[in-house]
């Protein structure tokens, strides 16, 4: 399938990241933008840019029909969905393909199968990959509560057509389950137009590990090692690393082979991630498959030296994988932090506003994938991602030290952000030791206790701003005639 001009049906950091590969491959790019994204970085970096509607993504970035129109208008012959939006929606993929465009992603059939988490479990079981005990035959609340007792608590309630952690909840008692069911179903309908849920046995201290796989149209399959995605909050990853400090070389091959068995069973073509939960004894269980480029792919790119978007494009073109399994490098260690405009001290509430200062880290083996710039207005309509900061080192210790140093350089003005939170993360003992699981954020250990040691410096700068303001004020003449002017400029004391 041709990819001679690529439409990127996304925005922000991932759109910029895809754009950069296209620049290297000399493929012209087409960006799309909603009303509030006219000045966005992805629009500025693209060769062509087209408006696709109002700010809410359901009226712009999610509108496959508009994307197809822009593709026709611009002469693009391929569409990359990025991640999020309609990246894993089989209907969207079908519409793109039916319009005669190359879809950069797995087939409609694969998206349909893996989109249904119950079907996906069945596929894993069919090829002998373990799954956690589950209940999915019934959807009636009371029947589910009754079955839950057989399964045993704690357990997870999940939408059957769920993805990206949306709607998932953990419950510890029948009462919690009863209260959770209507909520999960409600969210499932809102997000996925389907109210079916299922129950799955929850592990106590699980490790979340995902294996990156790639497959071409010629029956070649490889895995590009795993990422550890256990550093998550509410089933959303806040940081990731590769390789996983919990995975031994033997386990690595087992996980890789299990991932490929599933991919082969469904004739997967493209890149994707097979996700597993691991218990403390290193038993692993298939969780689901993410059928797109992942938000954590940078760490895989660091340790392999490969460009996964280039792989996606070359697979879509019908080319063979560039490397065999034996040729895939495992080079050092990489860590990634998701830098968000949010307040870690207030339950990570998103923060919007203008980025009135931005100093991004630089230097050796630092990568900052971003879709923002100095002066950009963070919109409350989209994910509050400022950048994905990743660091590589020849070993885990050096990768972490480099990330820690990079975070010290990162300075963001105008919005609350989680840079200090990530810095605390890279100082957190379990993280330094590589001994953490998905419950790492259960207690808010990162909250600043007391006032930092540099208070005098912090205050000196503010005090200086006050002085400058007073000095400017003092330079103005204080005649009778100026009273009105003072009033106008609010430089008057009202007593």
């Amino acid at each position: 399938m041709p990819v001679t001009k690529l439409l990127i049906a996304n925005r922000g950091e991932v759109a910029c990241r895809i754009l950069r590969t296209c620049r290297e491959m000399e493929i012209p790019t087409v960006a799309v933008y909603s009303d509030s994204d006219r000045g966005a970085m992805h629009v500025r970096l693209a060769v062509n840019s087209y408006p696709i509607g109002p700010t809410p993504s359901r009226e712009s970035y999610m509108r496959v029909d508009k994307i197809v129109d822009v593709a026709k208008l611009s002469g693009a012959d391929a569409v990359h969905p990025g991640y999020g939006f309609f990246a894993e929606d089989p209907e969207a993929a079908r519409k793109i393909i039916d319009a005669g465009l190359t879809w950069i992603g797995p087939s409609v059939e694969v998206l349909e199968k893996m989109g249904d988490k119950v079907v996906a479990r069945g596929i894993a079981q069919r090829v002998g990959v373990p799954v956690l005990p589950a209940v999915y035959e019934v959807n009636d609340d009371e029947a589910l509560v009754a079955k839950a007792a057989e399964l045993g608590f704690p357990l997870m309630v999940k939408p059957v057509l769920g993805r990206d952690g949306k709607g998932m909840r953990m419950v510890r008692t029948a009462g919690e389950l009863r209260r959770a069911l209507p909520r999960v179903k409600g969210e499932a309908i809102f997000s996925f137009w389907d109210e079916r849920v299922y129950l799955e046995k929850a592990l106590v201290n699980p490790h979340h590990v995902e294996v990156q796989i790639a497959a071409d149209a010629h029956g070649n399959y490889v895995y590009l090692w795993e990422r550890d995605g256990s550093l998550q909050r509410r089933f959303q990853q806040v940081a990731e690393e590769a390789p996983s400090p919990f995975v031994t070389p033997e386990l690595r091959s087992k996980l890789g082979e299990a991932a490929l068995a599933i991919a082969k069973e469904i004739n997967y073509v493209g890149i994707g991630s097979v996700e597993f939960l691991l218990d403390d004894d290193k038993n692993f269980y298939f969780l689901e498959m993410t059928c797109r480029l992942q938000g954590g792919h940078a760490v895989t790119e660091w340790i392999t030296g490969e460009d996964l978007v280039r792989w996606q494009i070359s697979i879509a073109r019908g080319e063979k994988l560039p490397l065999t399994q034996e040729q895939i490098p495992l080079w050092g260690h990489a860590f990634q932090c998701r830098i968000n405009a949010e307040d870690p001290d207030k339950d990570f509430a998103p923060s919007s506003g203008t980025l009135n200062y931005l100093r991004t880290p630089a230097g050796r083996n630092i990568r900052n994938d971003s879709g923002v710039y100095y002066g950009w207005e963070m919109s409350p309509y989209y994910a509050p991602l400022i950048s994905k900061l990743s660091a590589w080192g020849p070993n885990r210790e050096l990768a972490l030290a480099r990330m820690h140093a990079a975070l010290s350089e990162y300075r963001i003005g105008g919005v609350r952000n989680n840079v200090a939170f990530h810095k605390a993360l890279t100082e957190h003992k379990p993280v330094l030791k590589g001994e953490y699981c998905t419950n790492v954020f259960r207690h808010a250990w990162w909250k600043q206790r007391g006032i930092g040691p540099n208070l005098k410096y912090a205050v000196a700068a503010a005090l200086f701003e006050e002085l400058e303001m007073e000095e400017r004020r003092a330079q103005q003449p204080s005649t009778d005639a100026s009273v009105e002017a003072w009033k106008r400029h609010n430089k008057i004391n009202r007593l």
Partner: protein, 177 residues
């Protein structure tokens, strides 16, 4: 220039001044030489006690316009605090006291010069209506009526220099309707 710093439960009395181009910060009475340059629009490089620290300043809106809110970002995290002109604090609390006492005599709360007189004797004024402007400490301090009242007597005229506590205007409170 003086400021009261409030951060968390702490308050500190600060002062900053520039002499022959050199800055000094006074922190609860302790003088600290300050080498500070603005390097980017909201970013400062500070060398204090040989330590070099970069500080990025965000202004944070507060409810009280006299309370200046700041968020300073440093390599070790962010500091949220407010700075307030202690004179304003003083004046505001004095005014609040005067108002609560309900007294009819407006006095100068600090030494200064009468810049503008807005009322004449016999006039009735509403609560919050400007009475006069007293220039003091390089600021224009607008005195407003603490209640609905009648102006009984004016003790000053425009241009007059006043000592602290000098009587300015006598008011007779009007009964609430």
């Amino acid at each position: 220039m003086k400021r009261t710093l409030t951060i968390g439960d702490e308050t500190h009395e600060l002062e900053i001044y520039r002499r022959r181009g050199k800055l000094t910060m006074v922190w609860d009475g302790e003088e600290i030489p300050l080498d500070l340059v603005k390097v980017e629009p909201t970013s400062y490089s500070i060398i204090m006690d040989a330590h070099s620290v970069g500080v990025n300043i965000d202004r944070v809106r507060t409810m009280d316009p006299d309370l200046h809110g700041f968020r300073a970002s440093l390599y070790d995290g962010a500091y949220d605090f407010t700075l307030q002109d202690p004179h304003k604090t003083l004046l505001a609390s004095a005014m609040a006291r005067a108002k609560q006492a309900g007294g009819g005599l407006m006095k100068a709360l600090m030494p200064g010069k009468v810049l503008k007189l807005f009322v004449h004797e016999g006039e009735t004024v509403e609560e919050g209506q400007p009475i006069l402007i007293l220039e003091a400490m390089k600021m224009q301090n607008e005195y407003t009526a603490p209640m609905n009242a009648k102006v009984v007597k004016i003790h000053v005229e425009e241009g007059m220099a006043l000592e602290i506590s000098a009587p300015m205007v006598s008011l007779e409170p009007l009964a609430a309707e």
